[in-house]
Structures are given as structure tokens and as C-alpha cells.
Symmetry: C2
Subunit: 479 residues, 2 copies
């Protein structure tokens, strides 16, 4: 992936910039020792790495504002970073950039059960938001696979989803307000613990903006009462088409499971070999989970099983206990690890209209043969959010490039069938140069003009989201 | 409400502008006869009116683009209009503006039941969207009170809600994509029938932008399978506080009714006198509706009744038949008409955190005495969206001004308790000068800078949303 040449003037001024940051921020908040800075050279898209100029780890919104003001004055690019779990290179540094990490900002600022919200600093991890409210019987709904590690800051930047977002929506549906610091160091409040916004709804714009518009330091999040219980059913099919049709029919029937997860044969096989969850050896497998009281669960599962039975399943396994539920989920939750045992893999993320599932899976299978790279599919079928895992060998020259070309073909296919380049991982650097496939030049121009408003110098999170070719003139004008 | 002075140069060129529009558009699409233009001089905020320069009623996105291009070249302000049902003056013309109405654009362009969406021209009325899909067992969820008349264009402009939005969300939660024409006449596509957006999520920004950023001509809307059934329960209380607490407890228990409607004593009395729905004569009344299969409805209502009983209700009336359900809803649906029988009224729209309900109702009662104007409250309690109806006499000199001052005090109170100036009616001209109460100057500046991107000449929907004082320099610079 091409990256813009770093600004040599900035690099030459490193000592001065670090000194200014140190003078303004508490002790220990600025890191520039080479060995320590290395820990921030990449995120979870490990194929790409580059040590930043320095790393700043503030503890408060005020310190974030100070750091940004200094970088802004000095013309230093800033890469905001949550927990560094981006799969799209969303927090990849450039050599002339300062990493602004919110990892030390993990406090709960306010909980309000009557109005069902929690306000946190955005360095707090996703799971520990639920942790802060679960004794009172609440939870925070979006649940990315990385929820143990990923930060709310990154969830907001990428509009993250998760397996249970079919029912509860993704981050944007559970975010009520943010405190954001602009590149100029101005602190602005957007939204809050109430419905709707007066004037332009900037909250929807900020959510998913991948650190292009500002650094979100505090967030007001909707919390929900924990359901009484949950129970999955596993259904195996001899055909991807039929499994896809079953998903469609469940949704059409007006049922709203919390999750409908889909695994195809390559993924089932890899998972079985690794986790031994006792999955049937079939073409496609659905895990459908419903929530509620025991009576509600029984009623919903009965209707789901009835629909599944009309589609000639090879197996229907309804969970009868907490252990059986855990076993049904075990394979799904081990899928990424299982694929990783076989080889290196790249995890893609695109969305498609649900009805296009069979066609897209068939085409991915054909491309897999053409490229000579195996691929397993595991994804959130209910909302058409695909996660193809392409296997490759990082030590084999040319394999990464082949894998990337294959991935780009899959994402182009998603767009062709009426879908989108990204469901929850964001564009980052990974899909930056595919944006032209999704958007006409005038559409991209409007997005970039909106960035101009918030970050006229184009200093925030450089080289992400927008194709380098399209942003070149802007970056040069800003220097 | 102060309006900016119309541009005399534009008015002087009326004949030339109308001629250009006529030449570009099909016969009958341009109206400039004084008597016909009068029909567009106001929307549902009838206290304000002003005939526009001319009215354009295109039939296609292409014709909208042609009209906008001509107005843009001539520097003519454009006021987009749906069905003209705005309660906030969102479609109020200025004397130098062209009304661009989408009322003739009401076609269904595509229905896709597998992927659960419908694509329509935005002049289509809200209710007729459901009408187009109900035979197939689907419906469109947002249901403003004006749904028989209001257009999807206006729903998108104001991010409209409705009684059943507690469960299904407001427009922004049910809007998948739009075709929008910018003031320059450029047609852009935003979002689509898939989850998420790559890059900046402009869809969330467009929704609720009150015609400030472009004219939305086509929309892709989420449709949902119709529930098997629905049933309300009516609960009366002797205290607003206790009724508010009951709402809180229902939500905290993890129940998600489709609607929780609240009426206070003045509203109950007016409604009873008018519609004779047989409501109890009490301080506060809730109508709580749940949906699902008969078994699900029974289970949910049982839990709701159990919670209500803990709050000393004066009456609990569970519907036992379709007739009883209709009677329970009759009063609520007649409330606006009933208040209108007593006097002229102004319908406000603000949101508050649900827990602030008792305090806000008490304060409104006190202010009602101070101003000497009666007020009835009927609103969507589940999501804290209030609709105080202030009664006044339009023929009594000074009464409208007193009513507006009272309304402004109520909206300021909403902001003070952590709420928002608008839930679903928008800012329009009504709340324009209150925006400074909700937003700091730098917050407003960012909103206006975003408008600069889409409409640098500040020609779209003039004098709405932003305080005149704040926009003056921009409008002058643009002329």
C-alpha cells in the first residue's frame, strides 16, 4: 500500500516538537524513545507498519486539546488511536506523525439508569462499558469480536458492529453524544442524552469518520436492560443458497433474532479441526440466537425451527442448556483463530443486500480457485455483513499482494451487487484506493469538502479513507 | 419572527427567471400567477406567511436539477417543500424565493421484499409508502401524526418520528439512502440498500438537515414485516410524577412497547369534551401499546400491568377487542383537534431526558399561570419527546407574541434539563433564534461551515435553522 512521503521538515524538528509537547503535558504522557514508539508502529492490520515521530497518551480532554493545538501550530500530522485493533489500518502511523492515543482515558464519567445512558472516556474498552453497568442489570449492545480489547474511541471511529447488532444496531444506533477535539484544539459537544439534534446532525457524521474530523474523547452511550435469557439454535444446510434463503425467510416472517451468524464449509472444517465444537460437516451453517423470557424464547425458536425445517436442513440443534449454548457458539467464536492456525489470513469486511448472499458466495468460491488462495466465510448474515477470511502465506513472496488483489475483487463485487466496501472495520488504508469504485468523483469531493471544514490543513489521520490521488492537491495546498 | 429583507434585484427579474424555468421544464411545472402562488405562502405554522416569487413542481430528479441550476445561476433562493405540513415554518417562502415542491413526485421506483426496502420519489406521502407494501405484509415504521398528508421529503428534512418510534426509531433509523440534488444542480447518491457507509456518513447528516444542504428527490426506505397484532392498555394516575416514574420503570424492566403516550389533565379534559373516549378524569394518563403474537402480547401486557399496579393507578383498562383498542386510541388521536376546538394553539416539540418529565411538567404548569395561557401536554413519553400545546387567541392583539415567548421558555427549559430544542418538527423559523441557547458559537460555526460546503451561496431554504444574526455576514458575502 503506497503511503505519502513523510515531510522531512517535520522529522528534522522532532526534538523541538517533543519538547513542546512535554512542556505542556503531564510527566510520562509523551513517548519518543525508539523502542517504546515501536509498540505503536501498526494496528491489527500488521502487514503494514511505520514507527511514528512520537506518541502522546493524555489523560483528559484538556490535555488532548493541548496536544492537538501544539501539533496544529507546528503542522504535525496526528494519528488518533484507540486500542489499535483496527483491521483496516485505521491507526497506522506515518513517519512524520504523532500518535494521539486515548488508552489512558478509560474512566466512567456518569451513569444514569433512569435515562439509560453511560458517559465514558473513549479509551475505555467496549466490554468494560458493559462491565460498569451489568450489576445494575444493563449492557452496552454493540459487540465487536475484539470487544475485550477494542476501545470505544475506535468503535465510534469505525461505527463498529458485532454479532448481536442485527437486533440492537451498530455503534451509530447506540451513540447519543460525544465530546470531540478538533485539530485546532477546540473542544466541541455534539448530541447528548436526549433524542434528536437541532440543526445539522453532526453526530451521525462523526460516527464512522475514522479520525478524519477530530479526536473523540468522551462519549454518551445508550445502555439497555439485560434480557432475561438467550438461546441459540444451530442449523446445517447442504447449500449456501438454501441457507441464504432461510435467513431471508426468518427476517421476512417478522422475527428479529439478536444474531444470525453464517459459516461456510471451509470455515466449518477449519473450526472443527481446531475447536471440536461438534458442528455437522455440511455446506453452510447458521447460528440463530433469540432473547427474552423463557416463554418468549420458546415461542420464537419454535417459529424459527418451523421455517428452517421447510428448507431441508441436514441438522437442527436447539440448545437445551447453558453448556449446549456455549458449545454452539464455541466454533463460531473460534473461527478466526482456527483459520489462523492454517495460515496467515486477511479478514475482509463488506456488506451486501441479504438476497445477494448465494451469488456472492458462489463468485468468491470461483475467485478462490482463480487466485489459488483458500477462503472461508463467516459473517453476520442477518444484516448482510460479510467477513471473508483469505488464507495466504506471509513468508511466500507475492502471496500478500495476491491476497490483497483477491480481497479488492471481493469488495468490488460487494459494491457491484449493491453493497458497501465496509460494514464495521472502516476504510482505513486497506480500502482507501477502492473508494473510487463506490463513489463518483463528485461524491468523494463532497466528503473531502466536509473534511476541509473540520481539518482544513489535512493533518488528521493522514493517508486514510480517501484515495491518495484524490487528496494529493489538498495535502500539498495545506503544507 | 423577523425575516431578512428580500433581494429587490431578484424580484425585479422575476419575469426573466420564470421564463427561463418555463423553457427548461415541462408545461405546467412552473406557477407564477398570484392567486395560485398564494397556496404556497405558508406551511402548517400558519402564523407566518409570504407569497414566493414562483413555484416549481417538477416530476423527475432531472427536472429538479434543471430548476436548481437555473436558480443557482440567477442567484435565486430556493425553498424546498414536501407537503407543506411543517409545524416549524420549515417551508416558509421569502418574497424573493422559488418554492421547489416535490408533491408531483410520488412514484414507487422499486420494492424489494427479500432485502426489505422500498425506493420512492420523495413527494410520496408517508402513509402511502405503507400502502404500497401492506398487501405483501410490510409497513414503513415512522408515523408522524400528519402521516396521511406529509411527504417523505419533509420526513427526511425534519427527521420525523411518531407515536410508534419508541420501538422502531425515527426517520434516520429507517432511511437507507437518498438521491439528492445540490443547489448547483448536481445529482448525488448517498447510502443505499445496504448496511453502513464507506468514508464519511453523509446520510446521517442529510437526514434532519431541513433543506439546507440539498433537495432530496428519491429515498430508499427500510420496510418491516407487519406484526401479527397490537394491543394497548390505558393507565390513569393521580400524579404526573408517578406516571413519569411508571414510564421509567417499564423501560428499565427491559420491556419495549411500540408506544408509550402521555396526556396530562388539561389535555384529557379537552379531549373528553370533544371525542368522548371515556377516559378517566385524572392527572395523567398513559397509553402503552405492545405488538406481536397473541401470546407475546399477553406476556408483555401482564408485565406492564404488574409494574403499573405498583404505582397506585386510578384505572387500568386493558383492551379486549379491536373496538376497545380503537376507543383507547381515539382520545389520543383527537387530542390536537380537541385543543383546537377550545382555541388557537401552538404545538411545540422538544425532547428531554425521561427522568426530567415530572420536573418539566411542573415548571410548564407554573409558567402557564405566569403567562395566563392554558397548556395541554400530550407526548411520546417513552423517548422523552414532548408536545406542549399552548392555547391562545389569534384575534387578540399580543396573544401570539405571548404564546411564542411562553413556547421559547419551555424550549429553553428542555435544553436546561439536558434535552433538545426539537424532537421531530425541526428548527425551521420557529426555533431559529433559540439555537444559540442549545449551541455555543463554535458549535454553530461548524454547522454553518458544513452548510457552506453544500450551499456556498446560502441560497437553500433561507432564514431557517440558523439565527439570522449568525448568518448575516455569510448571506451578504454570498450576494
Amino acid at each position: 500500500m503506497e503511503m505519502p512521503a513523510p515531510n522531512p521538515q517535520i522529522i528534522a524538528q522532532k526534538a523541538r516538537i517533543v519538547k513542546r509537547l512535554r512542556a505542556a503535558l503531564p510527566e510520562g504522557a509523551v513517548i519518543d524513545a525508539e523502542a517504546e514508539v515501536r509498540a505503536y508502529e501498526c494496528d491489527a492490520l500488521t502487514a503494514y507498519s511505520c514507527p511514528p515521530l512520537a506518541v502522546v497518551l493524555p489523560g483528559t480532554t484538556e490535555d488532548v486539546a493541548k496536544a492537538l493545538r501544539i501539533c496544529h501550530e507546528a503542522g504535525v500530522p496526528v494519528v488518533p488511536r484507540g486500542a489499535g485493533t483496527s483491521l483496516a489500518g485505521g491507526a497506522l502511523p506515518t513517519a512524520d506523525s504523532v500518535i494521539l492515543g486515548v488508552a489512558r482515558m478509560s474512566q466512567v464519567l456518569e451513569t444514569d439508569y433512569d435515562n439509560r445512558f453511560i458517559r465514558v472516556q473513549t479509551g475505555r474498552t467496549n466490554l468494560s462499558v458493559t462491565g460498569a453497568v451489568e450489576e445494575a442489570g444493563f449492557f452496552y449492545a454493540p459487540d465487536p469480536s475484539s470487544q475485550l480489547a477494542c476501545a470505544i474511541a475506535g468503535n465510534i471511529a469505525m461505527n463498529s458492529g458485532g454479532a448481536h447488532c442485527l437486533k440492537y444496531g451498530v455503534t451509530t444506533n447506540n451513540l447519543l453524544g460525544v465530546t470531540m477535539v478538533t485539530m485546532e484544539g477546540e473542544v466541541i459537544e455534539i448530541g447528548g442524552a436526549h433524542m434528536d439534534a437541532a440543526g445539522l446532525d453532526l453526530l451521525g457524521l462523526i460516527c464512522g469518520s475514522e479520525g478524519q474530523l477530530g479526536v473523540v474523547t468522551e462519549a454518551t452511550l445508550r445502555i439497555l436492560p439485560k434480557p432475561e435469557g438467550a438461546r441459540p439454535v444451530l442449523v446445517g444446510f447442504d447449500s449456501n443458497e438454501v441457507a441464504g434463503q432461510c435467513v431471508s425467510d426468518i427476517i421476512k416472517a417478522g422475527l428479529l433474532p439478536v444474531a444470525i451468524e453464517f459459516m461456510d464449509r471451509p470455515c466449518i472444517r477449519a473450526t472443527e479441526a481446531f475447536a471440536k465444537a461438534g458442528y455437522p460437516d455440511c455446506e453452510a451453517l447458521l447460528i440463530i440466537e433469540v432473547e427474552g423470557s423463557d416463554a418468549e424464547i420458546d415461542a420464537q425458536l419454535a417459529r424459527i425451527v418451523e421455517i428452517a425445517e421447510r428448507h431441508d436442513p441436514v441438522e437442527i440443534r436447539e440448545s437445551g442448556s447453558a453448556e449446549e449454548s456455549a458449545k454452539i457458539w464455541l466454533g463460531r467464536k473460534s473461527a478466526f483463530g482456527a483459520m489462523g492456525q492454517i495460515n496467515d489470513y486477511m479478514c475482509l469486511d463488506g456488506t451486501i443486500p441479504v438476497s445477494a448472499l448465494p451469488h456472492v458466495l458462489r463468485r468468491i468460491g470461483e475467485m478462490s480457485k482463480d487466485y489459488g488462495l483458500d477462503v472461508g466465510n463467516v459473517f453476520h448474515a442477518g444484516d448482510g455483513n460479510m467477513h471473508p477470511l483469505i488464507l495466504f502465506d506471509a513468508n511466500k513472496p507475492g502471496d500478500l499482494e495476491k491476497c490483497e488483489a483477491f480481497g479488492a475483487d471481493i469488495l468490488r463485487l460487494c459494491v457491484e451487487v449493491g453493497g458497501c466496501l465496509t460494514g464495521e472495520h472502516g476504510v482505513g488504508i486497506e480500502k482507501r484506493d477502492l473508494m473510487g469504485h463506490q463513489y463518483a468523483p463528485e461524491d468523494l469531493e463532497i466528503q473531502m469538502a466536509v473534511k476541509d471544514v473540520f481539518d482544513p490543513g489535512w493533518l488528521l489521520n493522514p493517508a486514510k479513507v480517501f484515495p491518495l490521488a484524490a487528496t494529493g492537491a489538498r495535502r500539498e495546498a495545506a503544507v
